[in-house]
């Protein structure tokens, strides 16, 4: 597999917050990687380094990323003074920009809301618009910084399904930063765990297609990952081997 992302010996330090202490990570073309970690583990710092948004950080190391990167933030970050469609097509050039935007909105099931103002949308809908804004750019790498963190549990499940489907269709490499272990296992091919600025785990989490195997694998991975995060899952531990 050809890597679209290659990180070697990445070190980042801030005067005020999180640090990275020599992180190595490869993400293959079209691979869905979830990045887990406790607060302050450096996972957002890593994502911001990849997004080229870490101006206030000093450090060293090497980052190779594709030219076409898209970021989905925790807040939808729609411009309140632009209608939904204009938010999606913001900064796009070329022919059929409007049609491409409409198609992207259709994909996130918001085709009918193109002319709405952002404030007229619910939190989940706003995040779907943000997803459309990212996907319309056909990114090679999609960076998502806890994109569902601010959503309620039911909306989050719907968003998982949507993101899974869209990533399978468009096939970008994805780096999803989250602190939700279940979300990481469900969505990703691979989960890496960051602790105090170091990579402490790198697991293949592709689940068997269905049946009891799927459940046991899920449970095992979940316990494993929670262990790396320093959380004793007593409920799962009671039934474990």
């Amino acid at each position: 597999m050809t890597a679209v992302v290659r990180i070697r010996g990445l070190v980042r330090a801030f005067t005020l917050r999180g640090v990275l202490n020599g992180v190595d990570l490869d993400i293959a073309r079209g691979e869905f990687v979830a990045l887990l970690g406790r607060s302050g583990s450096g996972k957002s710092t890593l994502l911001r380094a990849l997004a080229d948004l870490d101006f206030e950080a000093s450090g060293s190391g090497e980052i190779v990323v594709p030219a076409n990167i898209s970021v989905v933030f925790q807040d939808a970050r729609l411009l309140p003074w632009k209608r939904v469609l204009e938010n999606v097509t913001l900064g796009l050039d070329g022919p059929n920009v409007r049609q491409r935007g409409l198609n992207a909105l259709e994909e996130v099931e918001l085709g009918g809301r193109a002319a709405s103002w952002p404030y007229e949308l619910s939190g989940g809908e706003q995040q779907r618009v943000a997803l459309a804004r990212s996907l319309v750019r056909e990114p090679e790498l999609l960076l998502a910084d806890e994109p569902f963190g601010a959503l309620d549990a039911l909306t989050r499940i719907r968003m998982h399904v949507l993101l899974k489907r869209l990533s399978e269709r468009h096939h970008p490499a994805v780096l999803l930063v989250t602190h939700d272990v279940d979300e990481a296992i469900e969505l990703a091919d691979r989960v890496v765990v960051l602790d105090q600025g170091r990579m402490v785990a790198d697991l293949d989490v592709r689940l068997p297609p269905g049946g009891p195997d799927r459940v046991t694998t899920f449970t095992r991975l979940r316990r494993q990952l929670l262990g790396f995060l320093g959380v004793e899952d007593e409920l799962a531990g009671a039934t474990g081997p």
Partner: protein, 292 residues
């Protein structure tokens, strides 16, 4: 169903089998709009006009009973009659037109200059270093204090008058617009960077629309400022305009003409403010907080 909206004391009889309710626990649930217990109460349609109405009412009463000497303040009906005469003989319309053009010119140049300087100062670091200090200094000098200097430079003609108004307009436009430009949120800056927007597109799609509420706030102050400055400059050797009309009336002790002039000033201020608010409501539709 009637039990819900019916009299509180009937509840026990109308809901057989239900727990006897203490009256304090019963609260009419079927109501379209409920008022907050600690709120200000329901707004009235013409409520804001109550104060002005009472003012005129007292004016009428005091004038009618003779408590108010017409030489101090003419009665409302005398004022209306005078206004009608002034309109009929063309003095009010012609002076009003002169004043309006004066204020309009000052507003135009003041807004244009304020906007240009605010853009330079708000969008570039060097521009901010160059322009912000002097404008903040000017801010603490009242426009009135500049009049002697401006008379020496520009004479007592129209140029001086328009300049004084323009300076009064320039300040609020600059202050509000520049602050709004500089207040562009970092999160939108980050978004623009990840979307790889060019600087021009960033300014056009993110910074400028985001600063529009600030500009319009400045515009409200500016419009008020234009009329206020007008009142001041029209006391300085004017030969036309509402201020001139008032000054002339003072010479002949025509209190009624003075009052007409003052009412016209008040109406101009209120109307132009309402006009700006109307524009705001249309342009800032994207803001949930805009009250229609």
């Amino acid at each position: 169903m009637n039990a819900m909206s019916g009299a509180i004391l009937d509840v026990d009889e109308e809901l057989p089998g239900a727990e006897p309710l203490t009256p304090a626990a019963v609260r009419p649930a079927k109501r379209l709009v409920r008022q907050r217990r600690l709120g200000l109460g329901e707004p009235l349609a013409l409520g804001p006009l109550l104060g002005p109405f009472l003012l005129v009412l007292f004016w009428c009463v005091f004038s009618y009973t003779g408590l108010l000497d017409p030489r101090i303040l003419p009665s409302p009906w005398a004022t209306v009659a005078t206004a009608r005469d002034l309109i009929a003989d063309g003095r009010l319309p012609s002076n009003l037109a002169v004043s309006a053009i004066r204020a309009g010119e000052g507003l135009f140049f003041g807004v244009a200059a304020g906007l240009v300087v605010a853009l330079i100062s708000g969008l570039s670091r060097l521009g901010g270093y160059v322009f912000d200090g002097p404008v903040q200094m000017k801010r603490s000098i009242p426009s009135l204090a500049l009049i002697p200097l401006l008379i020496l430079w520009l004479g007592i003609g129209e140029a001086m008058k328009v300049t004084v108004i323009a300076i009064g307009v320039f300040i609020p436009i600059y202050i509000q617009t520049q602050a709004a430009l500089r207040d562009t949120e970092v999160k939108y800056l980050e978004l623009a960077e990840t979307l790889r927007l060019s600087r021009w597109r960033f300014i056009r799609h993110v910074v400028l629309p985001g600063a529009l509420p600030g500009f319009l706030l400045g515009m409200r102050f500016a419009v008020m400022g234009a009329w206020l400055a007008l009142v001041v400059v029209e006391q300085v050797n004017a030969t036309s305009g509402i201020g001139y009309m008032i000054n002339l009336a003072r010479t002949y002790a025509q209190t009624d003409v003075i009052v007409v002039g003052l009412v016209v000033y008040a109406l101009l201020g209120v109307t132009s403010n309402a006009l700006v608010r109307l524009v705001e409501a249309r342009v800032l539709r994207w803001r949930r907080t805009m009250a229609p």
